[in-house]
């Protein structure tokens, strides 16, 4: 409860989620307001208590539902008097703004920061072709200049290559990898908000159509409409609030190599490895203390990367670790992606994992509650050159 980068001062006091679904036909701002106001109420606060607001990604990104609502839109809609605000994409993954909110409350720049992420990709992309979703026309900029001409427009292509190399080098099999989507689907079946809840079998997985080998349909997450929000408070401002405050024990923000999808020295590692290294630098806790993992699964292989980056398995040895799925099941020692993740729950884009970690630490997962009454949760989000992590506890 003390120590760590925020000396125990940064805590989570509330969490909220909007309606989540496919093609809801609601605007990103509408969904955002629903999640934000639910999080505020969950914390036992009123809108007027909120004096900070933060979000990923903010304005200036290709839209098509990727950015549900900017800070300006939410501030104006709610008439917020904010003492501190921020949005960013060049930060430690999709939870980077939550990490920065921890800094803001620790430094006294704000008492209660609402942090949200909202998407309405399912509605926005309805009817648009795949290439337009990924690219949207115009010049191929940045990384796409060097991948798009070769038909590698999707992160499915960029990440299937390290996945292929990992399988080649370390013998990870598709059967082993299937533990990630099968576990996600099993948990989603217990989550009324999840997109895909029907049972998924190993045969379904092995017979699914390939998207970009070795990744098949079930290795890819599902776009959705929805928003998630958490309230980051300074501990001394949280006295008297209804919830047990969750301590932000540490955060991972490292990026030691060039942030690229293909030039990292070891192509079987990613930004997650640097992120995790910094997460553990700041705390006396270690991987063995973690009893809940919420790890990004925009593609199943990214969860493999996070599992080893955070030290739950050695480099290259995630296959045997997840094999059979027993370790990562709700009744295993390290319950993983308990809401169904993005693979089956819907691509709430990073913040969904932070939201679910809080729900689980408060013991409110309902049917999907981790059986081990988790006290320490690791959240790792992002893939390729994007990554951020947070370690939360009930202590």
């Amino acid at each position: 409860m003390s120590g760590g980068p925020f000396d125990g001062k940064a805590v989570v006091t509330g969490a909220g989620k909007s309606q989540v679904g496919r093609r809801l036909g609601r605007t990103g701002l509408d969904l955002t307001i629903e999640a934000v106001t639910r999080a505020i109420a969950d914390a036992g606060l009123s809108v007027d208590d909120i004096d900070g607001i933060a979000s990923y990604p903010g304005p200036g990104v290709p839209d098509l539902g990727f950015s549900g609502a900017t800070i300006t839109e939410v501030r104006n809609a709610l008439g917020l008097r904010s003492r501190w605000y921020l949005s960013s994409t060049e930060t430690a993954g999709q939870i980077g703004p939550a990490i920065e909110a921890c800094m803001a409350v620790t430094l006294g720049l704000a008492n209660h920061v609402v942090v949200y992420r909202s998407v309405w990709e399912s509605t926005a992309q309805a009817g648009a072709g795949r290439a337009s979703v990924l690219f949207g026309g115009g010049a191929l900029s940045g990384h796409l200049e060097y991948t798009g001409p070769f038909g590698a427009l999707s992160a499915a292509n960029w990440l299937s290559m390290p996945a292929q190399r990992y399988m080649h080098d370390f013998g990870l099999t598709r059967e082993q990898l299937s533990a990630i989507p099968l576990n996600a689907r099993a948990n989603a079946g217990l989550n009324p908000d999840a997109i895909y809840r029907d049972p998924l079998t190993l045969d379904d997985y092995l017979n699914a159509r390939m998207i970009s080998e070795p990744l098949c349909l079930f290795d890819c997450d599902v776009p959705c409409d929805g928003a998630t929000a958490v309230i980051i408070s300074r501990r001394d401002a949280a006295a008297g609030l209804p919830r047990h405050p969750l301590t932000v024990e540490s955060v991972g923000t490292g990026m030691f190599e060039r942030a690229t999808w293909d030039q990292r020295v070891d192509v079987t590692t990613m930004a997650a490895h640097d992120v995790a290294a910094t997460l553990w630098e700041h705390t006396t806790l270690g991987p063995a203390d973690v009893d809940l993992a919420q790890l990004y699964d925009g593609f199943s292989f990214l969860t493999v990367i996070w599992l080893e980056a955070l030290g739950f398995a050695e480099h290259g040895k995630v296959g045997p670790f997840i094999e059979s799925g027993e370790r990562i099941a709700l009744d295993g020692p390290l319950p993983l992606n308990t809401s169904g993740g993005q693979l089956s729950g819907g691509r709430l884009h990073g913040m969904g994992f932070l939201h679910e970690a809080c729900v689980q630490l408060w013991g409110e997962g309902g049917e999907r509650q981790a059986r081990n009454s988790p006290e320490v949760a690791a959240v790792g989000v992002g893939g390729g050159p994007v990554g951020g992590a947070m370690l939360l506890s009930t202590r």
Binding site: G129, R130, A131, L134, F135, A139, L140, E145, Y146, T147, G148, P149, F150, G151, A152, L153, S154, A156, N157, S160, M161, P162, A163, Q164, R165, H168, R209, M210, I211, S212, E213, P214, L215, R258, T260, D262, Q263, V265, V267
Partner: protein, 165 residues
């Protein structure tokens, strides 16, 4: 090395160019990379201070931070570091399947290019496959307002093809 090969000869095997590719709009920094193929040369950013190549192109060497950098030709030989067989149609006019690969340059293994491996049966593409560059000009017949680009594609290196092909 492809100095003696024209793009037309290079493309004349089983591989046929797709109807459409999404094309780069070269910048001041990337122009050499995308146009070196006009002369059959793969031009990669090179640091005259530390002697290393780097990619993508930029105004400074990320290793030694020298700004004494510029495009230099490399051998065009490379090794497949990782690959995927793309099965999903993303781009109208460019139907799957096609192989997307990261290749490591023989001249500087730290430098990887994303490219297509062509003229290799899908089940024979593997990590460690030695490949060599050839170039595909786009548009094939540029109009008066088009600045063509030459995309570096890779196929099995001559020495490794053997009689099977």
């Amino acid at each position: 090395m492809t100095d003696t090969e024209s793009p037309a000869q290079a493309s004349s095997q089983a591989y046929t160019r797709p109807e459409r590719r999404l094309l780069p709009q070269p910048t001041a920094e990337s122009a050499a990379f995308w146009s070196g193929g006009r002369d059959g040369r793969l031009l990669i950013s090179h640091c005259r201070s530390c002697g290393h190549f780097f990619h993508p192109p930029g105004p400074v060497c990320w290793r030694c931070r020298s700004t004494d950098v510029g495009p230099e030709p490399v051998s065009g030989r490379a090794t497949v570091a990782a690959f995927t067989i793309n099965r999903q149609p993303w781009i109208p006019g460019y139907p799957p399947p096609y192989v997307v690969a990261m290749v490591e340059l023989a001249d500087e293994p730290d430098v990887r290019l994303i490219t297509n491996i062509v003229d290799v049966p899908l089940d024979e593409v593997r990590v460690g496959l030695e490949v060599e560059v050839f170039f595909e000009q786009w548009p094939a017949e540029p109009g008066p307002d088009d600045a063509p680009v030459w995309l570096p594609l890779f196929r099995a290196a001559a020495a490794t093809v053997g009689g099977a092909r």
